[in-house]
C-alpha cells in the first residue's frame, strides 16, 4: 500500500489542514517581514526553504540586516529554538529505533504543529506502526502550506497590509489546539502555570521565556501527578 493511501497518512494530513490555515497566515507574515527588512527575494526564498523555523527567522532578521557576527546570529537562533530540544527528547521515545539519518530527517521536519498533533494522536510514547505514516501526512501538509504561504509573502510583500495583524490567525490556530488538549484539571493547571511564566518572564532575552515556561508547566504537571496519585497518570 502506498503512503498516500495509508489511512494514518490521511489522518495526519487532515488533522493538519485546519490549523495549518492559521500557520499559513503566520508563514505569509514571515515572508513579508523577510522582504520588508531588506533581504533580496532570492535570499528570502532561500531562508524560508532551508531554515523552516518562523520564530528563529524573525529573530535572525534584524541581526542579518545589521551584519551581526555569524556566531551571534546562530546562537540567537539556537536559544529561540530551545523548545525543539525538549520536543526532540519526546520524539526519541517514538522514533529511537529508526536509523539515525531517518531520525534526523523526521526531527528537521518536526515543527510545533506536527509535534502537538502527533502527541495528541499517540499519547503513549512507544513505537507503533501507525506513527510514521501519520507523521508524514502531518509533516507534508505543514511543510507545503508553510512554504507556499511564506513564498507568497515574499512575492507580494508590498501588498500585504501589516497593520491587520494577519499573523494572529496563527495564534488562534494554536489556541484552538490548546483547548483540544485540555483534558483534565492537571492539564489546565500546567497550562495556566506555563502561560503565567511565559508572560511574567517575557523580559528575558532571546525568547527564553518560552522554554522557561515549558519547564515550569511540565514541573507543575509533575508535582500534581505526585500529589494526586489516585488518578494514575497514563504512561508516556
Amino acid at each position: 500500500m502506498s503512503l498516500i493511501q495509508n489511512p494514518e497518512f490521511r489522518r495526519g494530513f487532515t488533522d493538519t489542514v485546519a490549523p495549518s490555515l492559521g500557520i499559513a497566515a503566520w508563514g505569509l507574515v514571515t515572508g513579508v517581514a523577510m522582504v520588508k527588512s531588506g533581504l533580496s527575494l532570492t535570499v528570502a526564498a532561500l531562508m524560508t526553504l532551508l531554515v523552516y523555523a518562523g520564530s528563529a527567522q524573525l529573530a535572525a532578521l534584524p541581526l542579518i540586516v545589521a551584519g551581526a557576527p555569524l556566531w551571534v546570529l546562530w546562537a540567537t537562533a539556537f536559544c529561540v529554538n530551545l523548545r525543539f530540544v525538549i520536543y526532540s527528547a519526546h520524539w526519541r521515545r517514538y522514533f529511537g529505533h529508526l536509523p539515525r539519518a531517518e531520525r534526523l530527517l523526521l526531527g528537521y521536519l518536526a515543527v510545533d504543529l506536527s509535534y502537538v498533533l502527533f502527541a495528541r494522536r499517540f499519547p503513549v510514547a512507544e513505537p507503533q506502526p501507525e506513527q510514521l505514516p501519520y507523521f508524514w501526512g502531518a509533516a507534508a501538509w505543514n511543510w507545503a502550506s508553510w512554504q507556499g504561504a511564506s513564498l507568497l509573502g515574499v512575492l507580494i510583500a508590498d501588498y500585504v497590509p501589516t497593520e491587520w495583524n494577519l499573523g494572529f490567525a496563527g495564534v488562534l490556530a494554536l489556541l484552538g489546539l490548546t483547548y483540544s488538549l485540555l483534558s483534565d484539571k492537571k492539564s489546565w493547571i500546567a497550562a495556566g502555570v506555563a502561560a503565567f511564566v511565559a508572560v511574567a518572564a517575557f523580559a528575558l532575552p532571546l525568547k527564553l521565556n518560552i522554554v522557561t515556561a515549558i519547564v515550569a508547566g511540565v514541573a507543575a504537571g509533575l508535582l500534581l501527578d505526585r500529589s494526586f496519585r489516585d488518578a494514575a497518570p497514563e504512561r508516556v
Binding site: 525538549i86 526532540s88 519526546h90 522514533f95 510545533d112 494572529f168 500546567a190 517575557f202 523580559a203
Partner: protein, 109 residues
C-alpha cells in the same frame, strides 16, 4: 549586507534548525531518561502551546494590554466561544480572524 554573508548565515541557521530539532535524536546510544522526565514530557505539548501564544495574546510591546480597544481581546473571546460551542479548529480560526479584521479595519483597533 554582502551576499556571501547572508547565504552563509542562512545555511548556518538551517543547521541550527536541524541540530535543535534533532538534539536527542542524534546519538546512537539509548537515551535513558529518568522516569519522572518521561512522565513530565506528557505536559510538554500543552505547556509549549500556551508558552508560545499567551504573550502574543496579552502583551503589547512587553506590557499587559491596558486598553479595551484591542482587537485581539475580542478575537480571542470569539474564537474561544466558537471552540467550546462547536469544537472545530477551522471555525475557531475563521471566527477569531473575522472579529479581528472587522475591528481592525472597521474601528482601527
Amino acid at each position: 549586507m554582502p551576499a556571501w554573508y547572508a547565504t552563509l548565515g542562512i545555511v548556518g541557521l538551517a543547521v541550527v534548525t536541524a541540530v535543535t530539532r534533532g538534539f536527542f535524536l542524534f546519538s546512537e546510544r539509548e537515551l535513558e531518561l529518568p522516569a519522572w522526565a518521561v512522565q513530565g514530557l506528557r505536559y510538554a505539548p500543552i505547556a509549549a502551546l500556551v508558552a508560545v501564544i499567551s504573550p502574543e495574546i496579552v502583551l503589547t510591546d512587553g506590557a499587559l494590554i491596558a486598553t479595551w480597544q484591542d482587537a485581539r481581546v475580542y478575537a480571542v473571546l470569539a474564537a474561544t466561544a466558537y471552540f467550546f460551542w462547536r469544537r472545530g479548529i477551522l471555525g475557531t480560526i475563521v471566527t477569531g480572524t473575522a472579529v479581528l479584521l472587522a475591528l481592525k479595519i472597521g474601528l482601527g483597533w
